[in-house]
Structure formats: structure tokens, C-alpha cells
Amino acid sequence: MQVLESEEFETPVASRVNYLNATYGLKSWLLTKDHKRIALLYLGSVSFFFFLGSIYAMMIRLELLTPRGDLVQSQTYNKLFTHHGILMVFFFLIPSIPTVLGNFLVPLMIGAKDLAFPRLNLLSWYIYMVGGILTFWALLNGGVDTGWTFYVPFSTTFSNTYVVAAGLGIFINGFSSILTGLNFIVTIHTMRAPGMTWFRLPLFIWAHYATSLIMILGTPVIAITVLLVALERLARIGIFDPALGGDPILFQHLFWFYSHPAVYIMVLPGMGVVSELIANFSRKNIFGYSFVAFSSIAIAVFGFLVWGHHMFVSGQSMYAGMIFSFLSFAVAIPSAVKVFNWTATLYQGSISYDTPMLYGLGFIGLFVIGGMTGLFLAAIGLDIHVHDTYFVVAHFHYIMVGGTVLAYLGGLHMWWPKISGRMYPEGWARFAALVIFVGFNLTFFPQFLLGYMGMPRRYHAYPADLPVWQVLHVMSSAGASILGMGLTLPLIYLVWSMRYGRKAPANPWALPGLEWRTPSPPPTENFAVTPVVTWEAYEFAPPEELKVIGKFEPGDEADHPAVTKG
């Protein structure tokens, strides 16, 4: 491991004041305006919702072990997958990377002291928690059985569950996304350190910029849509109700106008993380930097034009379907460009096998499959058959779990020394990465086959006279238990390492990024002095040249906030 090498040139400062020990007490955390502490608040809450969502997933997989609906009743099963979807999509996947890694790293990477609006940042966490708790309350008190998509008229007229409360939670949560996106865009525009030009930005920042664009443009639309669903339910305004002259398909247009771009909210930050993982752990500048950077923006823009591909079988005009199909193929190209550039980056690199790199490689491997199977769904003729089957389920789990979750874990490992000031146990971490990769494939690959054979999604029971269906379902459930165990490991050893892990030096991986030029964990003000950037992104150098910017002597810490003011 490279840590030993880097310790030779940088002695960690034992009792230095940092953002973790600057102040103590619950109040100092709940009222903090420090983006790094807010990131940790998010880390805790996002993990909590991920854990909940996983429990629901395990129950779904248990039920599907047998063709008959024998573990839970159909009503319960419908709630299980709805809760799983709502928690995972709105309270884990959308916020995970932006609010945890993004919050922590955006200011550090561009050389700023904080995000532009620290109070809004804290507010966004509170809004997230209010939305989350309201939704969670709705789920506990009877739950929701509409599916996370809230399709009308089922959600407005027929469902007899807590749709309005859950919808309100999602509505509130939307504002948290808007504030985060707004904060990132303003910060990236106005607060870059001197010399940090747009094309010296790490690709992580580009990806977050693109994500933020979607957050601010898409989220208000879902907010108004959910509000309309609630109004329709409460007051029968008729806007989606065919009996009153409304159009249920309008809901699908409005919903997917947000929710398809939301897919990119979930995966773009993951792509940003993977660009960092691949470049940094092969010590190569990313191949075709500007192509990768602009492909993020292209995905964000195209992402808004393809919502109709969720509605190929809903009876929209065939010509509209063709246009959406064409644009869906177009949006696949920037993703393909990214994959090829990542692969080419490895060429003649110096590739380490540290855990973050394993996650990075795993991401590419799974994203290729997830992306390619997206083409199956974009081809109308084929989508007519596989629409709303397990093929779709497998596809988006390859993107969401194989993509976003792996990237999130990879990023968490890469920056864990910076976040916590401790090293995670490398052996365990590599083992967990392997278990997750195997478990994941075992869980979701059989679902492609099931889907093509016609297994519809959201089915509580399936025909028993098709034995191969059960075989595939059992494989999938077995994989899910392996995946579950794999995901539990980081939870345990990361928490363990916070106390018992080896102390991390400022730059354990010998990387050139600005976030590595300040101690681990960073001080509240991030840098001793405002850094001046004179190097390009991913300009690797021998470890001696990658020193901490400014002075951090053991005696200095009381003074250093003042230094930055000067």
C-alpha cells in the first residue's frame, strides 16, 4: 500500500484542530454550517434510509423464493416494493453521492472555504429529514401500495393507503434537492480558487455541475406533479381523472419529465466519482478530459428529452415513440464515450489494486451491461415485449446498484481517510468489494432472463408451472443475501475504523487534487491559506511535491482561522 510511502514525507499532526474536534456537543453538529459536518449528517441519514430500503428488498426476495404468495399477503407485498422504491430512490439514490461526497468535496476540490450558502445547506438537510420522517411515518402507519411511480388513477382513486402523506414527504424532500443543486452551481461558478479554471476542475465537479442542473430544472416539476396528485386525491379536481375529463397519461408525462432525468441525478455523480477513481488509482490523467466533461453536460441536457421512452406501450402516438426512441439512443452515446475513455485511461497507467479502484473497475464492468441493456429498452419493438417485466428491473438495478451504489462505496473508501482521518482496513474492504460484486451479479443477472421470458414486475406470485422461473428467482434471492452480507461489511468496518483505524496522513494515495493538499481531517476552514492552482487536473507528481498548502504546525491551530482571513 502507498500509505507507508506517503508517511515518509508527511507526518500527521496528532492534536491538530480539525472540523471534527473543533467544537463538541450535539448542538454544534445540529447547528453547524460547515459543509463537511453537514456531509456527515447526510451520511448518517442516507445510510439509515438505505438500510431500511434494503430490509424491504430482502423481504421481497424472500417472498419470491416460491411461486405462491406464501410469506406475505399480496397487499403487504405491494407495500414492500413500494416502500423499497420510495426509500431507495428518493431518500438514498438521489441524495447519496451529491449530499455526502458532493457536500464534503465540492468546496475542498475547488479550493473554497465552504459552499456559497452554508445556511441553505444546513436547511436542505433539515428539509430532507422532515420529508424523510414524514414519509417514513406514512410507511409505518399503514404504508403506501402505489409503487414508487404513483401512477394515476390508481394512486388518486383506487389506492386506500397513505398516498398523500408519502407524497407530501417526497414533495418536501424535493426542495432539499433544489437547494443542494442551487448551492453547487453557485459555488462552482463563483468560488473556485485562483487558477482553478473550468478545465482544471476534477471531473467529479463537472459531474456534480451537470447533476445540479437537473436537480434545479427537474425537481420543481415532480413537486407540482405530486401536489396535483394530492389535490386530485383530496378534492377530485379531475386533472388526471378520465371520468372528469382529465388525462391519466398527463401524469405519466409530468412524472417522467422529472423521473427520467432523476435517473441521471442518480448516476451522473457516480460517473464523476468513477472518473476520479480510475484516474487517481492508475495515476493517469483522464483520457479525453473534455469529452468526459462535456458528456456529463450532454447527458444532463439529453436526459430531459427522453422521458417518453417510459411510455412506449401507454398508447402514445407511434411517431412520438419514434422520436423518444431516437433520442434515447442518442443519450446512450455520451455514456459509451465515458466508458471507452475510462478504459483508455488505464492504458500505460500505474494501476493499483486498492479497494477504491476495485469499485471503480466493478462500476465500469456493470455499467457496460446496464447501459447496453438500456438499448434493448430504447428499441420500441423490443420494449413492447420487455416493458414492465423483470428485464427492466434488472436493467435499472445494474445502473442504480451496480453503478451508483458501487461508485458511492468506492468514493467513500477513497475519501474515507480525508473524511474520518483514519484508514479503513484494506483486506476487509477488498473482500467486501468482491462479495458485493459477486452477490450483485447473482441477484440481478437472472432477472434479465426472467424478464425476457415474460415475468412481469411487481408480481407477488408467479406461475408455478414454469419451473425455470422459480430456479431463476431462487438464484436471485440467494444472490441478494450475499449482496446483503457484502453491504453490511463496510458498515461495520468503516464504523470500526473511525476509532481503531490507523491514523491517515494528509495524502495517503499521493494524489494531486486540492482536497489532498490539506490535512486529514481538514480544518473547519478547509485550507490554511487560499490555494493558488498552477497545475492541471490529474497532474501526478512524486509524493514529495504534493505537500499540504500553507503551514500546519502543532502550535498553529489556534491561529490558523485568522491566517485565512488575512
Binding site: 450558502f117 427537474g218 425537481t219 379536481i237 379531475g238 375529463g245 398527463l250 482571513k565
Partner: protein
């Protein structure tokens, strides 16, 4: 007025400069960019309703025209004028904040508030009229037979009423959301008046005045779209009153 506060940070640091910005210029730039982005999200927020409006207007043009003709375009027109005037007074308030004229700034802020309140008052009168005419789109909604064009077939008359009701839903949702923004704007203005009076804003630091100005103009512009869409469009199709 204390343009520069003497602090240990030295003469360059303004008292309103937050710790994480390098200088006032950066802070102002961040604030105004943030406000613009916020307004973009607002446009998207209204956008969903505009889309619903356009869709159903296309689907049920006669019913929407009938509903639209029943609105009082004179009150709506007066309100449009009132709002445009308030935009002017708001712009002047921002101008006087820039040149540092505290009294004129307060006068124009208050004028803006008065005009804003006038708008809401007229809106309330309109809402009351709708209430009296049973046009609130709740179960008590009534649309008189004589207000249905004669060429509508007997079996479609019930549907026609429902579509008029949908027009009123969209009318109330859009104008209600707009009115909510006006009320928030009035709150922001009150806040500004108080802090202007306290002498918080200077030619160097008056970002809140500027940003509130942006917000106020945005709310006006939304109305500039709402007025023709809801009140005027399709007026030639029916008689009106």
C-alpha cells in the same frame, strides 16, 4: 451610514461579508446567481401548471373559452397595471439603494408594498365574486345552463360543465400559487423596510434589496403570462360581459 466597519479584519472586510467569501464582490455575485437559479426553478414549478393548462385548453377549447369569458378582464387588467407599476417602484427602490438614499428607498419600498397589497385586494374581490357565483371548483360548483353554448349537444352538456370546472381548478391553482408568491414577496419587502430603516444597506452592500427586486419582477412576469392566458385568450369566441 457605516460603509466600512472597523474590525480586526482590517478595513477591507465589510461587516456583512460572510467568512467563507473572499470579498464582497464574490459574495454579491454568488447571491445574485443563486437568486437567478432559484427563479429558474420557479419557472419550472409554474411550468407544470402551464403545461396542464395548455393541454386541457387544446382538448376543451370551448369550455375553457366559456370559463375564461366569465372572468372579469377589467379587474384583471387593472391588476396588470398595478403590478407593472409596482415593478417600477421596486426598480426605483433598488436604484436608491445603490445610490444610498435611505429615505427614497423606504418610500419606494412602501409604495411597492401598497401596490402589491392593492393587487391582492383586487384578487380577493375577484375570488369573492367567484364564490358568490358558485364557481369555486368544489362539490358546490355550479355552471348555469345559459352559459353553455347552444351548439353543445344535450348529452355533452354535463361534460362541458366538468371541463369548465377544470378550467376553474387551473385558474385557482395558478392564480393562487401566484398570490402565494405575492404574499411571500410582501413579507420580504417588510423585512427590507425594517432593515433599511435600521441602516443596514449601503451602496456597497444592498444585495438583499437587489435580490428581492429580482424576485418581485419575476412574480410580475408570471402574471404577465397568466393574465392573457386566463382572461383574454378566446374572448372573441363568446360574448363575455
Amino acid at each position: 451610514m457605516a460603509a466600512h466597519v472597523e474590525t480586526h479584519h482590517g478595513v477591507e472586510a465589510h461587516s456583512a461579508l460572510q467568512h467563507h467569501f473572499d470579498n464582497m464582490e464574490q459574495q454579491r455575485e454568488a447571491g445574485s446567481l443563486g437568486m437567478w437559479i432559484f427563479l429558474v426553478t420557479e419557472i419550472m414549478f409554474f411550468g407544470g401548471l402551464f403545461m396542464a393548462y395548455l393541454l386541457y385548453r387544446t382538448a376543451y377549447p370551448e369550455a375553457f373559452a366559456a370559463g375564461s369569458n366569465h372572468l372579469d378582464w377589467k379587474l384583471g387588467g387593472i391588476n396588470t397595471v398595478v403590478l407593472i407599476c409596482s415593478s417600477l417602484t421596486m426598480a426605483l427602490a433598488v436604484y436608491f439603494a445603490q445610490v444610498g438614499s435611505k429615505q427614497l428607498q423606504i418610500i419606494f419600498l412602501v409604495l411597492t408594498m401598497v401596490l402589491g397589497a392593492t393587487f391582492l385586494g383586487i384578487k380577493a374581490v375577484e375570488y369573492h365574486e367567484k364564490y358568490v357565483d358558485h364557481l369555486i371548483p368544489i362539490p358546490g360548483f355550479q355552471w348555469e345552463e345559459k352559459n353553455i353554448p347552444k351548439d353543445v349537444a344535450p348529452q355533452e352538456r354535463e361534460g362541458f360543465k366538468r371541463h369548465v370546472q377544470m378550467f376553474y381548478w387551473i385558474y385557482f391553482a395558478m392564480t393562487g400559487l401566484h398570490a402565494l408568491h405575492m404574499i411571500i414577496g410582501l413579507g420580504l419587502l417588510a423585512f427590507l423596510v425594517y432593515f433599511t430603516w435600521r441602516g443596514r444597506y449601503t451602496p456597497e452592500y444592498h444585495a438583499p434589496v437587489e435580490l428581492t427586486g429580482l424576485y418581485w419582477h419575476f412574480v410580475d412576469i408570471v402574471w404577465i403570462f397568466l393574465f392573457p392566458l386566463l382572461y383574454l385568450l378566446g374572448r372573441h369566441l363568446g360574448g363575455g360581459h
